[in-house]
Symmetry: C2
Subunit: 399 residues, 2 copies
Amino acid sequence: MKLSNRAKEIQASPIRKLMPFANKAKEQGTNIYHLNIGQPDIETPEEMRNVYKKYEDKILAYGPSQGLEVYRKNLVRYYNRHNINLDINDIIVTTAGSEALVFALLVACNPGDEVIVPEPFYTNYNGFANMTGVKIVPLTTYAEDGFNLPSNEKIEALINDKTAAIMMCNPGNPTGTVFPKSEIQRIADIAIENDLYVISDEVYREFVYDGTTHTSILEIEGLEDKAIMVDSISKRYSACGARIGCIISRNKDLMSATLKFAQARLCPPTIDQLAANACIDIEEEYFVKIIAEYDKRRNIVFEELQKIDGIICKKPKGAFYIIAKLPIKDAERFATWMLTDFRIDNETVMFAPAEGFYATEGLGKNEVRLAYILNEEKLGKAMKIFRAGLEEYIEKVEK
Amino acid sequence: MKLSNRAKEIQASPIRKLMPFANKAKEQGTNIYHLNIGQPDIETPEEMRNVYKKYEDKILAYGPSQGLEVYRKNLVRYYNRHNINLDINDIIVTTAGSEALVFALLVACNPGDEVIVPEPFYTNYNGFANMTGVKIVPLTTYAEDGFNLPSNEKIEALINDKTAAIMMCNPGNPTGTVFPKSEIQRIADIAIENDLYVISDEVYREFVYDGTTHTSILEIEGLEDKAIMVDSISKRYSACGARIGCIISRNKDLMSATLKFAQARLCPPTIDQLAANACIDIEEEYFVKIIAEYDKRRNIVFEELQKIDGIICKKPKGAFYIIAKLPIKDAERFATWMLTDFRIDNETVMFAPAEGFYATEGLGKNEVRLAYILNEEKLGKAMKIFRAGLEEYIEKVEK
């Protein structure tokens, strides 16, 4: 039986290729430090976990397609604290950020339309683009520039009649780059000039360091009909398994169309929404601690990377990822070799070759993404192994 | 800002049109018996609810994209009890049946492809077709025939180069019709002859009455590469808010492509999967009781409908819906009038005009769908009000 073209074309997870090697290493009793995935090791807040424990309804019923009203009302309060004033109808709760991204592409783009995305970008954008028949047009950014945005000329050169939107992740996965307000404004101005939507994936909004301020696309004036924000509680509350996110826009027609897509799938998970709802007021004490923890980890990773001769890596200001350009030819080969050949005290490190985060053929081949989602002690060990492995790999394999 | 064409075209929920009238009636203090939705009033099994209460993990983490292994293993056992022998890799857990249907259309159909669907059909199929760029080609079935399938000639007349699949719901929502094995075999033969997928939505598999046996598409021999089954626990365990379903096929390439779509959205909700998993072994005692309860309700609704002069309605053998062709011209007008004008002891009934379940223009205008999801007492009252309302409506409004 013939599969659809999109089924044939959808990209396999670039991390997955390495899984057989990781599994084999584990079977041999090797301990692997996982810096390859964005699953935080931080505890989910007790307030949230308690909701599951205290659930008393006898019937686990459908919720409204737009999400539970109590949760949406509280989300209005949450965003208000972040300088974003919303009406409850600007928010539709989704099954995690993934569904919000699919909805955004469905309402903003026709099949065949183009969306400009700064690369390297979150690989699953490829999957969502495939599902919705949208073409991602990469806007290349560089390790040398800290993955900041290129000039207006470079961006505008990619715009044509088929361009429907600019989509960005801020703070960035996989780059950790945080676009300052002036850059968000620059994107907004280009969007206004060219009548494009701006889809902003802000699931890491809280994770900014060095006193950096996060600017949401929803804070930009004059962009009310063009700004679509995608959010998720997965990283915010270390609750990746709850699958709760949302899509937000002040464009009433767009939200009314989004609601119809939401109605087709009935509703997001009910108890998980209640659990997410319990987190609305735990901001202060929780985040100060968490951010300090991630900041410490960021410093460990960055400082260890700086010891590598010929590395290109600016210190990222957000999220919990860092991309490093290494003095090697083939980062996938290096990542594989670490799993198959390199051990210190029977331990090794797994990380993501960055090539899969680029849409432009040939880019990212000598880059890796490290997720700093382990505690200080483990991360310290992992980075020592990473550096020692890299030295030996350069010496023994690539020379 | 321009919305996408699919955003402009996606059908609004046909039930929603009536909601403002229902809300107004409620504001006026009127009690409404809801026969318009498929939200069962049956309690979610305690085994399932207890899982939430006993959840002890400190980190609510991502599960695997294909679903938790423990749950998939148990699903293999569950289906085995239903004469369906599966390998664990034939199953991918989804965020409810909705996501499974979207995945099925994504892998089986190219945008622009056609899928033949017996009408009347579950309206959200329109939404999923819109999202995936697939065209639904309705295969009309009739109240007079109990919504059974028409002849091979009628079905084959709809097949052309663009036809990729036949999609059916068995037992049927909104019809309650259960296709016997011979009919499933007939569809399978047509699919084999014409190289089509068969997507079978079997979320009501347990809900069959009068000693009827449900035949799954997965039980048909020789259809291994073409059969795609969609399932959900929403109705089975009265757990609509858990959002757990699955997609099943023995076509390895198809499942491997489906997994890539599943990886793009990371995973279905974690705790809800564990809750679903707790239900695997509660089959016997639970279902005998539930089926008997729904059967009683079915009889109440059917017997009351039979008292209506000129009604056309065969007794359905499955699910918990019944479609009745009424001796009126405009069922939507009748449904609206019941909410705005008709009361008995300040109570009225809400139900779904069936026109929205048809893709063929003009069909279903004098039909309604009733969901028998209220207890005996309430349902008895609701049906008396329905019948009295219909008589008065015919007398006062349509005459």
